[in-house]
Structure formats: C-alpha cells, structure tokens
Amino acid sequence: MKARAVEGLDPAAPLRANAVRIVATRLAELRDLAEPALEPGASQAQHDLRIAAKRLRYVLELTESCFGPEAADARRFTKQLQTVLGDLRDCDVMLPSAAGIASLEILLRTRRELLFKEFVELWRQGAEATWLGLERALAA
C-alpha cells in the first residue's frame, strides 16, 4: 500500500511545522482504513491498517518531542495496534501452509479469532481518545 502524499512540505521551514503535516496525513490515513478492518475476515484491510499504524508510529518516534505527552501516548497506542495486527497477519500467512495439519489449523484459527477480538477491543476503547489527544497536540 502506497503512503498518501503529504502536501506542502518545506525543507527550509521548521521541523515542527513539517511534522504537523506529516503526522496529520498519517493519522488521517490510519483512521480512514480502520472501518473496513473491523470486519472479522477482512485480512487485507487489517494488513493495510497495520502498515498505516507502522508509518504513524515511526513518524511519532522521530517527532513526538515536538508535541508532548499526548503524542507519546499516540505512539504507544500505535505500537500496540501494530503488534496485535502483526500477530493477526502472522496467522493469515501461516494458515495456507497449515492445510492438512488439523491441530495447527485449529490453533491458528482460534488464535486469529482471539487476536481479532483483542484488536477490536483495543480500537473501541482507545482509538478515539488517543487520536483526539494527538490532534490537540498538533494544534497546540
């Protein structure tokens, strides 16, 4: 999945002003990808969301000191998202080669279900508040 282009970046302008644009674009991208990923069988959408979370996390890792604690909270939250979606992805990658190994197939399907529930719970409980906090930090 290609990253959305960030408009209006200027190498001569301060880092913070540019970082605001980059973080805002990556956040918008992640939010737009979330809804389809909340469907249980939407492996591709979940994979895309994982990539978007990773992109946001790396920008925050570099620039969170420009934005304060709410950006650090958002970075930690995106890491949690990336981890659970990564584990989900591992199940999807391993499942085709588990065909014919009944116990492994059952294990991977059960694990996938649990991880999906974990992802939905994480998203429903933390996402909105985290993103609002991050937006406040960007606007400050």
Binding site: P14, L15, S65, L104
Partner: protein, 158 residues
C-alpha cells in the same frame, strides 16, 4: 527489539532539511551497528534488530524525502528497501519456525510428522534466504551503502 537511538541535537525549531540530515545519519548508523552475526540462525534476534533498524531508516528516508536531491534519494531508498526485503525474507521463516517448534511439543501424534516436514521445508527456505542475504552484508557492500547515505545526509544540510 532495540529502541531507536536519540538523535543528538534534535531541535523542533530547526529547519526540516538540517534535521533530516541529522536523523538520517543516526538511523543509518543504527543499521550498520546491528550488522554483526545476522546470518546466525541460532540467534534470530540479531537479524530482527537489524531489520527493525533498516525499517526505521527507510521510514526516515520516506518522511524526509523533500529534503534530499531526488535522484540520490531514490537510489539510496532503493538499496535500503532491497536490504530490508532480504532481511524480511529470513525473518518470516525465523518467526514461523519458532512458532511451529513451540507448538510441535503439544501437537497430537497424528500431526507430528507433518509438522516436522513443514519445519524442514521452512529450514530450507531459511537457508536460501540467508544465501540471498549474505552478499548484501559483505563489509565492502555495507561500506558503500554507508558512504551513499552519508553523502545523502550531507546533501540535505547544504
């Protein structure tokens, strides 16, 4: 997993171009600092650390793209991506082998032979992934990439 290194002198008020030079220089050094022992399949964390460092460098290059001369940036990013892909091929096998080996002990008897066969296939793929990765980790090749990234960082400063 290794934490990202602090970027010395990082200043949010500094021009994006100057900050980009600093960021890419630090992220590049992180990659080379993790290059030892990567081909050792008995210690997969070494490869994992280098892979994460490569991903952070790639992210930094993508984030700071407007600060670099386009052609030089494109070439550097391409080489970093190739290294990341080669590390990723090995890592995927490491992860699956570890998962299957931890499960194999608890698996019912009827599935054990099939699991062992699957692990064997993965070990072979892991060996091939290592063979493909090895030339990219040769000191001469890494030195060349390092020089390329240093030049790129200097170009953002000017």
């Amino acid at each position: 997993m290794a934490r990202a290194r602090e970027v010395p002198g990082f200043d949010c008020g500094e021009a994006f171009g100057a900050a980009a030079a600093r960021i890419v220089a630090v992220r590049a050094e992180e990659v080379f600092a993790h290059a030892d022992g990567v081909l050792d399949v008995e210690d997969p964390e070494r490869l994992h650390d280098m892979r994460v460092a490569t991903r952070r460098l790639r992210a930094a290059l993508e984030i700071c793209e407007p600060c670099f001369p386009p052609k030089r940036h494109r070439k550097a990013l391409k080489r970093v991506k190739r290294l990341a892909d080669a590390l990723g091929e090995r890592r995927d096998r490491d992860v699956e082998i570890a998962f299957l080996e931890s499960f194999a002990g608890d698996a019912p008897d009827r599935d054990r032979a099939a699991l062992a066969a699957r692990i064997e296939v993965l070990r072979e793929e892991q060996r091939r992934a290592n063979e493909a990765l090895a030339p990219r980790l040769k000191p001469k090749r890494l030195r060349k990439l390092r020089r390329r990234l240093r030049k790129l960082a200097r170009a953002a400063e000017s």
